[in-house]
């Protein structure tokens, strides 16, 4: 039986399709098994085989192909029947790039360089505990706050870092209270985070964090022996102090108010499960598996040379597999970097992660105010300066205006060179939309902000992780878990 004769069949409305189609801007990437991942400029994708890809590019795919409707709906191709794809693509592109229009949201205050730890991978420079000439002054803090509120961003996050920021708690208090005062008229969505090793956590700090809903972020590298080896304290009690601190915050401020991240050393590589178990025991629900960064003490102590990218990727994959297993057993646990990649693949928005943006988020997504008022494009940029290279020092709160700092050649040149859309190799890469660039990293490792991608740890890491995530998404059970991470 057919339609009543007043109606036209589907074939009638499909006629314009037979006149052919045009490809919308796409890139493709050969996956491990030989299939090709097709991506468009806003992260929509379809995996096809080589024969199909060839036909698609030649223009010989037709509505007879079962993939046709998917490719059309995902705005990989456009046919004569409809041109609203252009409106939608531009809308989605604006959505993906929205964070750039918002400008700097994350403002990092290095309130002290002092620290009670002597971590062998410390990427920042540390000073002895007693020496408060490396503390941020109230005057510097006020000038930095002026710049913070010059940013047009509706959301402002102020993060306190160090050294150990709690060693200069009075200035943290001062900054929070002054920022809140300014915000009475500014009315931004204002948030605070303290990145601390928790040694100096006390009643006063907790009470203050409670009153102003401050989040706390800390480092937990794994089991006691590993943690204490990576992060030595004179009293060899770093692990215990960290774990106790996490529990106190969970009880006092709330379960969601503390998070931890880990740094991978060569000693970590063999024990991803044991490291993750530490997080589960502490009822933490997020792990951030991070490789070493090539700055500061990590270079000085030759930590960087002890493992290569393949070792680390092996560690990451094993860790992620274990995390998925834990989820399957009912324990909700996310891996932060994977989540960032997932959001880029599976949602129309952009998670706004500094190192996975184009242009790079250095300076424009996050900016660093050093204890002395110097302004840097990133935490890593500050470290470069400590190593004697002021390539990414943008100015000082004492001498420069907001415009001078954010329109400085140091920043603009680096950003211009960080556009993956035009960077050699990135420009053709099928994973471009999920990746980003890190000019400071490439400058530090290769002496060039663009860098040669075949030699880049950054490129290898992201390519492998993105490929791996796509592989995981092929399995329905994993897919369900991974999608569940995106709130």
């Amino acid at each position: 039986m057919a339609l009543s004769k007043k109606f036209f069949p589907l074939e009638y409305y499909s006629q314009p399709i037979n006149e052919g189609y045009q490809l919308l801007p796409i890139r493709f990437h050969r996956m491990k098994k030989g299939d090709y991942l097709i991506t468009n400029m806003v992260g929509e994708h379809k995996i096809v085989n080589q024969e199909f890809l060839t036909r698609l590019v030649e223009g010989s795919v037709s509505i007879e192909d079962s993939e046709y409707n998917d490719l059309k709906a995902k705005h990989i191709l456009m046919d004569r029947d409809s041109n609203v794809a252009i409106d939608l693509l531009s809308l989605k592109y604006r959505t993906k790039q929205y964070s750039i229009s918002q400008f700097t949201a994350l403002h990092i205050f290095v309130v002290s360089l002092r620290c009670d730890y002597t971590c062998k991978y410390c990427q920042v420079s540390r000073r002895m505990e007693g020496d408060n000439s490396f503390d941020m002054s109230e005057n510097t803090a006020l000038l930095a706050l002026d710049l913070v509120f010059k940013s047009p961003s509706k959301a402002i996050k102020i993060e306190f870092q160090g050294g150990e920021p709690l060693l200069n708690f009075p200035v943290i208090k001062f900054i929070v209270e002054e920022a809140l005062k300014i915000n009475k008229t500014e009315e931004r969505n204002l948030q605070f985070v303290i990145t601390s090793n928790l040694t100096y956590l006390n009643e006063e700090v907790l009470e203050f964090c409670e009153r102003h809903h401050i989040y706390i972020s800390t480092s937990l590298d794994g089991p006691e022996a590993l943690h204490n080896k990576n992060r030595p304290r004179p009293d060899k009690d770093g692990y215990q102090k960290t774990v106790d601190g996490i529990r106190i915050i969970q009880d006092y401020l709330g379960r969601d108010r503390v998070s931890a991240l880990m740094t991978t050393t060569s000693e970590s590589l063999e024990i991803p499960r044991e490291i993750i178990d530490e997080y589960v025991r502490l009822d933490l629900h997020a792990v951030f598996l991070r490789p070493l960064s090539p700055y500061g003490f990590a270079l000085k102590t030759k930590q960087m040379q002890k493992y290569n990218i393949d070792n680390w990727l092996q560690f990451y994959k094993e860790g992620l597999e274990y995390i998925l297993d834990l989820n399957k057993s009912g324990y909700f646990l996310i891996e932060q970097y994977t989540l960032i990649i997932l959001k880029k693949i599976l949602t129309p928005s952009n998670p706004g992660y500094v190192d996975l943006q184009s242009p790079s988020g250095a300076g424009i997504t996050a900016i660093v105010y050093n204890y002395d008022g110097d302004v840097y494009a990133s935490d890593e940029a500050r470290m470069l300066k400590e190593m004697g290279d002021d390539k990414f020092r943008l100015g000082s709160v004492h001498n420069n205006t907001y415009e001078e700092i954010l329109l400085s050649d140091q920043l603009l040149d680096a950003l211009e060179d960080s556009l993956t859309e035009s960077v050699p190799m990135c420009t053709d890469c099928g994973l471009q939309t999920y990746c980003g660039s890190d000019p400071v990293y490439h400058y530090a490792t290769q002496g060039d902000v663009v860098g040669k991608k075949p030699l880049s740890f950054f490129c290898k890491k992201n390519t492998s992780i993105i490929e791996h995530v796509f592989k995981l998404l092929e399995d329905p059970e994993n897919k369900n878990i991974l999608e569940g991470w995106i709130k």
Partner: protein, 383 residues
């Protein structure tokens, strides 16, 4: 099921006019309040019935009394606060607004620029512009406490300026009433129209706009209008640009169920800012009857696609509901999305529903399900 309209009334005055009146059952009303009221009496005694817009008795014999009309039995449910339209020379009385119903829709035109395969209200090319004039007159009579009011057709925007006038009249008379407009959205592809609606600044207005596929040719086929997909999408974008609330309505049938998950994905990717998505079971009425073989699929056979669609939309943070589908025909996991959506004046239950523990949570069936319904209807018992 109740009837909204009857022509079996006996109305003896034969003036060629249309009366829009509010129902009252109180004959003692002050004279000053009587002129836009329809007095409905069980029977007439020696009441003073001077000054009412019309007087009805529920007793047929009373129509012999001068100035008293007979109200057909089908409309005896009318109560104080209802609003009716009376066309005396046709003996016609129609309920425009029923105070006890939660689903009052103002039917503004039979005309439409689409011709959907499953249209429950087949469009006609008629000049029915009197309808909207009657409704504009009726709005001030509607109870100020009304929670919700709908506008439907046909395609309301075909009325042009008068459509916007109706919305403005509703806003000024019923500022606390949610307004739900069913439109195919195509005319809002003109940015000026979207702006015009936004400028009325109704505090609680939602447009329900159908989208049947993630690809243009299938949507255009379902609505039988070339280019409709692009127009609807642009209409939605224009409305959202002006911060109007938009709901996407998807009727699930044989031509739409297969790509339901892909449609959900399309909405999540492209229209994530949409305010609500309603996934709707098919009503066997209007054109659906003519095209039944090309449209009917037992809901039990698309439960996978339905579950996948709600999962995808939820993942994108898009609010989703299931309308017109009975609890026994959808997976338990989907119950949380299912809404009792079938209007009280057209729903019913079947023998199989007897003893069903979920009957109170279930919308029941359209009366039209007599023609075709799932083979799997069965009572659900407490576990």
């Amino acid at each position: 099921m109740i009837k909204l309209q009857s022509q079996k009334n006996i109305i003896t005055f034969d003036k060629n006019i249309v009366l829009i009146l509010k129902v009252t059952t109180t004959p003692f009303l002050s004279k000053v309040l009587r002129n836009n009221k329809a007095l409905i009496l069980d029977y007439v005694t020696d009441h003073d019935i001077e000054g009412f817009g019309i007087v009805f008795s529920k007793k047929k014999e009373d129509s012999n009394i001068n100035g008293v009309q007979y109200l057909d039995e089908d409309l005896h449910y009318l109560v104080d606060g209802d609003v009716i339209r009376v066309i005396p020379h046709r003996n016609s009385v129609r309920a425009i607004y029923r105070i006890e119903s939660s689903a009052n829709f103002l039917f503004v035109t039979e005309r439409c620029n689409s011709y959907c395969l499953m249209c429950s209200q087949p469009p006609r090319k008629v000049n029915d512009s009197h309808l909207i004039e009657e409704l504009i007159e009726a709005v001030p009579l509607i109870d100020k406490g009304a929670k919700e009011l709908g506008i439907t057709g046909g395609e309301p925007t075909l009325l042009g300026e008068r459509f916007f006038t109706l919305v403005r009249v509703i806003k000024s008379n019923l500022p606390n009433t949610s307004l739900h407009i069913l439109s195919n959205g195509r005319n809002f592809s003109d940015p000026k129209l979207a702006l015009q609606l936004a400028k009325i600044n109704h505090p609680d207005l939602m447009l329900g706009i159908p989208l049947y596929s993630d690809v243009s040719h299938i949507h255009d086929f379902v609505v039988q209008a070339d280019g409709a997909f692009d127009e609807t999408i642009r209409g939605i974008l224009n409305l959202k640009r002006h911060l109007q609330k938009v709901e996407i309505r998807v009727v699930i049938h044989k031509q739409t169920y297969e790509r339901l998950p892909q449609l959900a994905e399309f909405i999540g990717r492209n229209l994530q800012f949409i305010d609500h998505v309603a996934l709707m079971g098919l009503e066997i009425t209007g054109f659906t009857r003519a095209n039944l073989d090309e449209l009917w699929i037992d809901p039990i056979d698309y439960s996978d696609q339905l579950s996948e669609a709600t999962r995808i939309l939820s993942r994108y943070g898009v609010r989703v509901s299931i309308y017109n589908l009975q609890r026994c025909l959808i997976p338990r996991s989907q119950w949380k999305y299912a809404v009792k959506s079938i209007s009280d004046w057209k729903n019913k239950y079947y023998e199989e529903c007897n003893g069903c523990a979920e009957k109170n949570n279930c919308g029941g069936f359209f009366a039209s399900s007599d023609i075709k319904r799932s083979k799997m209807i069965n009572a659900i018992y407490e576990e």
